[in-house]
Symmetry: C2
Subunit: 512 residues, 2 copies
């Protein structure tokens, strides 16, 4: 087979980090903004985020959660309360100290010393504290429970090392916060949110994940239990793509979320919180991208099908465009994956092959290239992004009668969604190994250049100092415990760390 000339200059296996940056740049998803750690999300990247947001929002609403909006700024005093409990408190957050600019008399501008805020404001790193304060106002009686709210917003955490979509100082996310009458109800909601995320990742993002409980050392501060979905990137590292926390009554006690129960007694609510972010876009890139750029699962693709007329800037263009428009119309009335097909007729000027490769790199699921001869003969040339190359190392176009394509378009789109999931699922399963001892575990990660994926081990779920010893031992190998899968097989042996009888299985991996 002749060598394929891939669309990107960096291959995944040569330099995964560089490849990731190249996909983002070549697929025109995002770019540096000139503000350290903040990115400009370009139309194609934002279009994917909008699809994710809309589909996730539908699921959140279907669960009876309502959206709210809380202020961008949080008074410093809200954090001072938190700092009391945290030794050596220091937080990387954007601090607003002035509310006006004035000229410095030398042609420049400075914060106006006359407009210094009495109390500095913090740009929200999460809205947890203000939502807690609101819940304390809104919850009075058992009739007000459960109270379930969600917010879509930008948040800021000052980061020293940033990577687009994975870790940026400003990012977009949703945070769900719920209050319940008792532990059982709150735990049900915690696991409902986790299952929502698992199903969303696998169905909408075609990204297989493991849902499970994080170990004690990885719990969200103040949480009684933290759960996550973990996805395997193509370099074998794990990406935490969503978390759900059961907070017990600790958060309600701090925020004053109390209700009168049916017997008239004041009780603290049991609360939960759960979140996902633009990080998911990074997960999609590293799950589905290949050496030709991104491949977007059809459910979250802004356009599922792009029609590319091969315009020649002559008299024949009109008939060609009419043919393409007719095709577009025949497609958009059809439903795939429960929604009308999203089809773009790309009429922009420019060479068709250049435009084709731009769409390949963007990862649009299906490209239809149509020339004057195709139009005259009632044909289309179909290129599936997930089957890009033929055996001759050429773009794998399939010629079809227009009617035949229209008849099978929905099937093709749905098949691409299924195929991308199956491919990623195959990779995930192929790259989970098992280790029966710590030495076996260490050996699996011995080659520092290549990640073998994840390793499943049995452990005794140590706590406190015993757990800390395990964490440090793993840290020396740059490893972390990802989670205890909810659906794991029963244990049969001893803990690979402590030698005690094992109680559950965990995944160990390098991670983002």
């Amino acid at each position: 087979m002749p060598a394929i000339r891939h669309a990107l200059s960096t291959k995944r296996e040569d330099d995964f980090a560089q490849w990731y940056q190249e996909v983002i740049s070549e697929a025109e998803m995002a770019e540096e903004s000139g503000v350290r750690g903040c990115m400009v999300i370009k139309p194609w990247g934002y279009g994917i985020w909008e699809r994710i947001q809309r589909l996730m929002d539908d699921r959140i609403k279907a669960a009876g959660v309502t959206n709210c909006y809380f202020p961008l700024f949080i008074p410093l005093s809200y954090f001072a309360k938190e700092a009391e409990h945290v030794e050596g408190f220091a937080k990387e957050m954007a601090v607003v100290t002035h509310h006006r600019l004035v000229g410095d008399g030398k042609g420049g501008l400075v914060p106006d010393p006359e407009a210094k805020l009495e109390e500095p404001l913090i740009v929200r790193p999460t809205s947890e504290t203000v939502i807690g304060a609101a819940m304390a106002r809104w919850v009075q009686s058992w009739r007000d429970l459960p109270l379930m709210v969600n917010q879509w917003a930008n948040v800021v955490r000052w980061e020293m090392r940033t990577r687009m979509f994975l870790r940026t100082s400003e990012f977009l996310w949703q945070e769900g916060h719920t209050a319940h009458a008792d532990r059982a109800d709150a735990m049900t909601e915690t696991l409902r949110a986790l299952e929502m995320y698992r199903d969303f990742a696998e169905t909408e993002l075609a990204m297989p994940v493991i849902a499970g409980e994080k170990p004690e050392n990885e719990r969200f501060p103040g949480a009684v239990a933290t759960y996550s979905i973990e996805a395997m990137m193509q370099d074998g590292k794990a990406l935490q793509a969503g978390t759900s926390h059961y907070l017990g009554t600790g958060f309600a006690e701090a925020a004053g979320i109390q209700y009168q129960d049916k017997e008239g007694t004041q009780q603290y609510a049991h609360t939960t919180s759960w979140g996902t972010s633009t990080r998911m876009v990074g997960g999609v890139i590293m799950t589905h991208g290949d050496d030709d750029g991104l491949r977007v699962p059809p459910m979250i693709a802004p356009h599922q099908i792009v029609i590319l007329p091969m315009l020649r800037e002559n008299d024949e263009d009109e008939a060609l465009l009419a043919y393409c428009e007719e095709l577009r119309k025949a497609l958009v009335t059809q439903f795939a994956l429960n929604e009308p097909l999203r089809v773009l007729l790309d009429k922009r000027p420019g060479k068709a092959t250049q435009k084709r490769w731009a769409w390949v790199k963007k990862g649009v699921p299906l490209i239809l290239e149509i020339g004057g001869r195709d139009a005259a003969g009632g044909q289309v040339s179909m290129l599936r992004r997930d089957k890009l190359w033929n055996e001759a190392a050429k773009a794998n176009f399939v010629a079809l009668a227009k009617e035949d394509f229209v008849a099978r378009a929905v099937t093709e789109i749905e098949d691409i969604q299924t195929s991308l999931f199956a491919e990623a699922k195959g990779k995930l399963e192929a790259n989970i190994s098992r280790a029966g001892s710590f030495d076996e575990l260490a050996a699996a990660f011995a080659d520092d250049k290549r990640y073998p994926g994840w390793v499943e081990v049995e452990w005794s779920r140590p706590t406190g100092a015993a757990l800390e010893a395990v964490v440090q031992k793993l840290k020396a190998l740059k490893l972390t415990i990802r989670n205890t899968p909810l659906t794991a097989q029963p244990v049969s042996g001893n803990c690979v760390f402590t030698g005690d009888a094992a109680v559950e299985r965990i995944y160990v991996a390098r991670s983002y």
Copy 2:
């Protein structure tokens, strides 16, 4: 007719400003957040905003504009450039000066002096400057034009006097920015956006508006022409509810947005910008609210129909709930105003009458109250929010067979949308008067306690100092020129300000 006991304690005619605050509070739309000038948008208020956002976004996308996301922070230097051109530049903006908090050693927290930013960052008051910089990168050739992007985001303008939804330090908005090859194309886009806003206000918000050009003194800084939609609130004041600007090439020259035309010559692009915000929610309240609270037009109502079972916490509840659920299912499969009916079955515990009045104050278009007897007899009791009181000053319930209601639900919902618009349109028209002289104009606003609405006059469109004289004369009467309607009748007389021959008509009013 007996006296109606309205649901609010303040009537519009007694104290409009107080009434406005009471609607927001009683309809649970928003509340103070504890951060000066920032509000918490509660589920009902945010649900209305989400409807507005989704419907507006559909229109923006249908026009071929793509959404992007730009950073929250803007380097100070971007504003310094602007300040060079503005005498006595001083801007009320939130300034970020530090990126970390540390303990002050006394149990409190302070901005870490070690973490002072080299260059302060401004929380975006608009993203205009960063979008301009991005456009300069993205536009190279005539093939890249038109470039049309939009952003949905939060922005911050430090405000001394704030009023919820109308003027808050942080608010939510969309800002469209487009670049074109020539003036004609840019003007077409400017007017397209204006017309989109006009039609959106009248169709989706049921809020009649006047679309027209702002006078020179009200132009956006740097704009060649600024257009607005103006709505009349029930106190007779005008609310500017959306703006669209043609910016000529000035903005492109400042930002460096240049393209190579077909002949190979470098040209500056012609740009536009246009925006609407959460202010529209304030407009909806002051257009449709009455002495019983808000009335939400069905197109933007999070729930169009609320079913209220009169639960008794006994064995009969189950049958009643089953009856209501069956009704809900029969309704949600129907389409009204191009979308499936949005129906809530409100099963929360609590007294039915209390719940009824809560929904009345929230302004849900249609309430169905259903008791055990109704369920047994196959009946429903319907209450239309826009026909709330009967002649006996009681809640105007209409008893219907369930099947009859199901058959007419869509008609009722669509009729409410139409009726709210017709009612508001009638008020607008009834409260526009005409003045043939400045004395007549002044006389119309002589009673400082009551606003007569708007006054239409003819003028000579003076510029420069002559315009400034007009503006000051009006300011003394607390009046402003709203706009020159695009669809005005031809002029026939002289300018009421200058006495010169009139060239066009304008609206003069008090305003928010």
